[in-house]
Symmetry: C2
Subunit: 353 residues, 2 copies
Amino acid sequence: MVQITTGETLPFDYLTVATGATPRLPSVTGQDLEGIFCLRNVTDAIRLKSFIRQRNARRAVIVGAGLISLEVCEAFRRLGLETTVIYRRDLPLRRLGKDFAEQIVMELESNGANFLGDTGLESFEPTSSGAIIVHTSNGSLESDLVLIGIGVVPEVSLASEAGIELGPTGAIVVNEYMRTNFPFIYAAGDCCECFHRISRKPVYAPLGDIANKQGRIAGANIGGQNVLFPGIVGSLCFKVFDLEVASTGLTLEEAEKVGFKADSVTIQGVSKAHSYPGSRELQIRLVTDTESGRILGAQSVGGDGVVSRINALAVALTGGLSIEELAYMDLAYAPPFSGAWDPIHIAAQQLLK
Amino acid sequence: MVQITTGETLPFDYLTVATGATPRLPSVTGQDLEGIFCLRNVTDAIRLKSFIRQRNARRAVIVGAGLISLEVCEAFRRLGLETTVIYRRDLPLRRLGKDFAEQIVMELESNGANFLGDTGLESFEPTSSGAIIVHTSNGSLESDLVLIGIGVVPEVSLASEAGIELGPTGAIVVNEYMRTNFPFIYAAGDCCECFHRISRKPVYAPLGDIANKQGRIAGANIGGQNVLFPGIVGSLCFKVFDLEVASTGLTLEEAEKVGFKADSVTIQGVSKAHSYPGSRELQIRLVTDTESGRILGAQSVGGDGVVSRINALAVALTGGLSIEELAYMDLAYAPPFSGAWDPIHIAAQQLLK
């Protein structure tokens, strides 16, 4: 039985918990000031845009440097805002490696945004003119608005009170059918965990495409089908200004942490044939299991063709393919799309040496 | 021992036959006239370009409608030539299906090229002004130049005289090590056959990326390594004007011909998220083995993102993945690159119904 805010109770045969996630907040003085925003849904976006217009905002500070923060940084620069990203760690997307993370910072800076690494948020203070002073471990900044993008936490208070089991990530534990510890209660989306097929561990991966798949599977099973969610391989991508960034599977560090003896190689390639107009540089890092030769992960940054390579490699991860297979993989070749040796081949050939 | 044209003989421990392929010629009257070209190498391209410039050519006829012909058609149009493609069959790239082939014709026509299907070449006749009359089964055309692009034949005369075995395709038979029927004679590239991993048959696939791989493998084995060429899955792609066309594995017709009980589905998708600027339409056709659910092939046409999807599917073919795996494949998602449900998911989900 579910009790809703009107006081009514609703009976059920099956229940699906799809409570999503809520933005993480920094717990500092002044975080409720007007002009401080999170961006979680369309309403948030509309509020943020109208604030910028109505106040004729010219300066923005973004707290955090994840995917949402960096995408918003691009949007702010396109609106002409002077934009500073502050981040408690040295570099954004640090798990992709220092070299790739530095390219992201260069992309921000070459598009007129400021990046302040190793900078912790301390508090917010209002000014008499309606601006906000952002106090950090690295000095103070005055801004017309602040976006907080430091991640989300699964919204599990209701589930937890009802006795639904939470996992080590703090999100709801589900099996392959998206069923919780109660046989008639399912969960799907950003409130629950995922099985990572490469690390073989539960992870928290609150991404829209995964939520969509989980919702469909929960619904199919409730509707009497028998559909399994095979889990994820950890694929993600984003675009910031003219840089594509994408990743699938494990980084070398992550692979070693879960017990693999792993190798990696990083190569410089181009998105199209060298001779073809508009070819852009890209880098691919491949991570492989030293014993089996199986691919464990890949990370890539570059001007173009990054996401398409990572998707091919995500399929290779799903299929458990080896570096040998990748080194001679029959990818479709024509000069507008790649060289005769694609960056994927080049990286895999390097690992075979 | 190899005898060369100077009369010298060269001894060898290992020999590699890399004689490539030569353009197929139509065997019609007048095919040696000045102004009639094939396009096989850089010298051919330079000769063709200087002829166009020197003669101030304004009209071109292309005989054949394969990848090279269509790419040259685009190049001719960019040079401002009035261009007509004549083809003995009704539509170009007919194996990809009538619907996809018709889109290719529409793309040619919307870019000002003429396509004449069901039109056989009969002969060439010179005019007094130095032009060429192209006589066809469908009337005669006057042109300043003609490009013949009706495919290539493996150059195997030397190999054949030496007793090297040729296969059913007319090209040299090689094993996984790229070795011919003589233990010390290897062959690689457009003069030899390939093993098609899906049809499990030898095929003739004279493509640059395959030749590169075969050459590397022959060299590695001669050098004492032990490297196998796993074969191809039949991937190819090209761009013609603003249309991307790509294919991997078998079409439904081909799958049935080699004995599979197969199904297929064709879906309409978009290259990026619907809401994202610059998203273009694309279609994907997936072919699947009805019994095992394994993917057998895919074909795609569209404005953008076609080749990246086909490459992901080429990897899926190589890994022997099923439609179930594709339907919930963890591809990297962000709106500049796809919807939360990628066209690959949508096609695979359709086949699961």
